[in-house]
């Protein structure tokens, strides 16, 4: 049964977290990865998440994207509370609202670039919007690589395929966990440009976890995590400002 999204929040938040905690394991060895997170992700914005290693960035992102469930608290996506959705509802939610870009690309090796990109549409089974798919492929600059298999593409090209795959279903929000983490800095910069551009020209909402201060200078807003809590938040800032904030955060 489809859970129809409720009316959008008036303040334009497409993703919200309300006192989200996540505990791995139990008893003596329990790890409190998230210890009460409240946040709102703005529509049409690129939100960066930074923080020291082990601060809970990935955990947070997985929970926001419905890949993992919070131990306590609630997450909404486009107004729908997701913490208690069943597998079928979550699948539908993913098809409609969520796109992913992974650090290790996660392309299906047996499909061509174009087939990988089309996969979400094929899975959802709707009519195939060819014009839009073509546009996305052109946008990510893969016009001449459509028929190539992932193994025949460079890392940067593979990540472009992944981004196109995330954009093609026009999801409410795209989550990217260290999308440049596995690329050299020049290629990484190109990928960041691409993400930035899809926010500005397509109005795509993107949440991106990164270790790279330069990456966050592309963001409209950056959240800083430390030890499972959001400890700082800065609006559009340059790389230098972000590095300083990181330093402060690390010494908390």
């Amino acid at each position: 049964m489809q859970t129809e999204p409720q009316a959008q929040s008036t303040n334009g938040a497409v993703v919200t977290a309300n006192d989200v905690t996540r505990v791995y394991g139990a008893g003596e060895t329990a790890v409190h990865a998230l210890r009460g997170i409240d946040l709102e992700i703005q529509r049409g914005k690129l939100t960066g998440i930074m923080g020291p290693s082990g601060s809970g960035k990935s955990t947070l992102m997985h929970i926001l994207a419905g890949l993992d469930r919070p131990t306590e608290g609630e997450v909404t996506i486009d107004g729908t509370p997701i913490a208690r959705l069943g597998d079928t509802e979550l699948t539908k939610l993913r098809r409609r609202h969520i796109g992913f870009v992974f650090q290790f690309f996660n392309l299906l090796p047996m499909l061509t670039a174009e087939e990988n990109i089309r996969l979400p549409l094929d899975l959802a089974g709707g009519k195939n919007d060819k014009a839009w798919t073509d546009e996305v492929i052109e946008r990510v600059g893969l016009g001449d690589r459509r028929k190539h298999r992932p193994a025949e593409l460079s890392g940067g090209q593979q990540q472009r395929v992944a981004i196109a795959r995330a954009l093609v279903s026009r999801p409410t929000v795209v989550f990217a966990d260290e999308p440049t983490g596995n690329l050299d800095s020049t290629t990484g910069a190109e990928i960041l440009d691409l993400l930035r551009e899809s926010v500005s020209t397509l109005g795509q909402t993107i949440v991106m976890v990164t270790h790279d201060p330069n990456a966050c200078s592309f963001s409209d807003r950056t959240l800083f995590l430390a030890d499972g809590l959001i400890v700082r938040e800065v609006a559009k800032a340059d790389a230098h400002e972000i590095v300083t904030t990181m330093e402060e955060v690390s010494h908390l």
């Binding site: 990935s58 997985h62 890949l67 993992d68 597998d87 079928t88 699948t91 993913r94 098809r95 969520i98 796109g99 992913f100 992974f102 650090q103 290790f104 996660n106 392309l107 299906l108 090796p109 047996m110 499909l111 087939e115 996969l119 979400p120 094929d122 899975l123 959802a124 795959r165 279903s169 966990d177």
Partner: protein, 860 residues
Amino acid sequence: MIRVALRGLGGRKLRATLTALAIILGVAMMSGTYVLTDTIDKAFSQIFDESYAGTDVVVSGKGADISFQGTSAAAPSVDEGLVDEVAALPNVEAAAGAITDESSTKIIGSDGKALNTQGAPSFGFGVDATHPDFSRFNAFNLVEGTWAEGDGEVVLDAGVADREGYQVGDTVAISTLRPKQDFEVVGIAKIGDVNSLGTATFAIFDLAAAQELLDREGQVDTISVAGADGTTPEQLVSEIQPVLPDDAQVRLATAEAQDDKEEISEFTSFIEYFLLAFAGIALFVGAFVIFNTLSITVAQRTREFATMRTVGASRRQVLWSVIVEALTIGILASIIGLFAGLGLAIGLNELFKALELDLPTAETVFATRTIVVSLLVGTIITLVAGLFPAIRATRVPPIAAVREGFTLPPGRLHRFTPYIAVLTMALSLFLLGYSMFRDELDTASRLLSIAGGVVLLFVGVAMISSHLVRPLAAVVGWPARAIGGAAGKLARGNSVRNPGRTAATAAALMIGIALVTFVAVLANGMKASNREAIEDQVIADYVVTAQDGFTPFVAAAGDSVAEAPQAELVANVRSDLARVGDAETYLTGIEPDTILETYRFDWKEGNDSVASGLGDDGAIVDANFAEDHDIAVGDTIRVLTPSGQTLEQEVMGLYEPPPFYPLLGGVSVTKERFDSAFERPRNQFTFVNVAGGPSGATTAALTEAVANFPDAKVQTREAWINQQDEDFNQFLTMLYVLLALSVIVSIFGMVNTLVLSVYERTRELGMLRAVGMTRRQARRMVRHESVITALIGAALGLPLGVFLAALVTRALQEFDVRFSVPWGQLVFFAVIAVIVGILAAIMPARRAAKLNVLRALQYE
């Protein structure tokens, strides 16, 4: 989604091919069986249709219609004068008599020995080619030459002529109820277009000659009748009926053909089920292989499935992607198997031929049923085997896409696996016990529940075997560690790394080994019982039998052997079918004067003087038969012979022959009494005692004495027993060849698992090579792992086979089957397992050794 599945398959061609092979063999066996048995059926049905072409009704002798243990008594002959009587009837247009004898005409082959038909008929026909209506009734197709005329001429069957190189104009020796004589081959004939009658043979003589040779002076076996225009066969029957004497009957030719066909299709469907059983075993093993391969594949593709989930695939879609993969493999493999079956049918026929069991064949029959059933069964089995891995794939959560080294947690039922395994085995034991020890079950349900029990037993052991892998590997892996050094040690470690996988791989081999062991142990016991049974009964120096050892032979041969000066004492044992009360059995005729010197009775009631003093109206009865049919000493029993005569005999004594192989029939009377009741009495055995015991010279002399009866075979008691062992071994060879099929399937499974493991450990192998492992060591590591897996299969299969054999031996207790384990053979099977392991490792080991170290380390 279907594309994802198909592409995935295309990207793993080797794996897909190996997986498909697992099912191809089973399907090929199945379709081959159908093709072969349909072809045989068609040949027979052509033979029968041809035999009655142009005939409306058939007049033949009316006997008691007795059949026992698959043999039916031939109908008696009728008086020749009846032909003219019938022909004179107003609505009869034509009538012709013919001789058809099924068993006494033995053609001597080019090597001077009688052709051994292995129990198949050796027909002798007599036809009158000068009869004006001959061609109307003629069932034969003369390919060459002319029909036989007068004495000394014969038309041979094309199959024999071809095999033995006889041509028109040649001389051929043939023995009938008369001693061996030379005939000139004047023609060569077929029945319809049937190329070969298999091991069966026929020779066509002139009618008068056949009457003489086959002891039917003034008689014919069948009268073929055609009605005048406008007369229906039914009308003919009612017209002929009144003129027939009591001992003759008239039947529609179509009904006769139908009966013949039904009788034969009972036989071919037995062959069909027999061979299908092996197809079933191969498919069952194939199911294990497919299950295992798909399970490994699913585990290796965890990340892929998770990624699909994150981009919007539902569980159902993931399920479908695996099922479509299985379905595609299943359909493709079934189609290939279906056509491979055409080739295999030829192979099976060759196998039968090699074992001298070949059967008539016509043009290959490729029936719709063959296509439908083969495709369905192959596809469904693959699908069922793929279901569990497919369900497992759906349990991959999306988060696995981002977690390095995520492995699926064991399923909800995993905890209960040992209990389920034990339950399965308990159920299996129940089924086995039930089917073997309950008497009132009919054969079909008994076999079904045995099959079900064995399948469950294998599944149960396979389920529990993942818990046994560790201890077993420790034992069977010891030599690997000892001789394989570091590589051997790693191999042992690898084999227990994923116990479930090793267990499932070994389980496939276990099935084959268990069945081979079962056969070997049971056969060993049966051979022992057979030897004991014969040694208990026979005290004669020599035994004369037919060439095939089990059909009765011309009685005159027994008289001939008596003429040899070396033969001190001869005891003929006549045998034929009879009905006692309402029970069908063999009736034997013994010679009271000599029987006790050659055959030992184990008396239950009576003593040796009962046998030596047996009078013509007395009978000795097998105690088991007596018990089953409420017969006691002093009773008078009525014995009905196939020709319709009834003998009244008083039961004088009961004896208990070894139940495994009682040499005499249910009831024995004197030879004289026997001969009075049978038209053409034949011997089952002739026992001979010689002066000074058996020797080569004596054997030669006795053999020379029966030279005119080439179907008779003279052997010492010991040689006779050995001969039976040898015949039995031949049958065993066939079973082993057929079971080898399932072992081959399990080899594919092992190759598959190894290839997948090597692929999975690419990085690790690269690391090992980088720190100094040589190619040789890499190869050795894979090979040792393979051998360890194979030995685990053997370690499970051997005891399982012995156990099943023990169970069946117990169930066959009433036949006194011995339980005797052929240790040497079991060791041999273990060696075979090692060889299987080495063979399976060849290709994967080469792959592991070829690995480019640099590339392997970069491999993600």
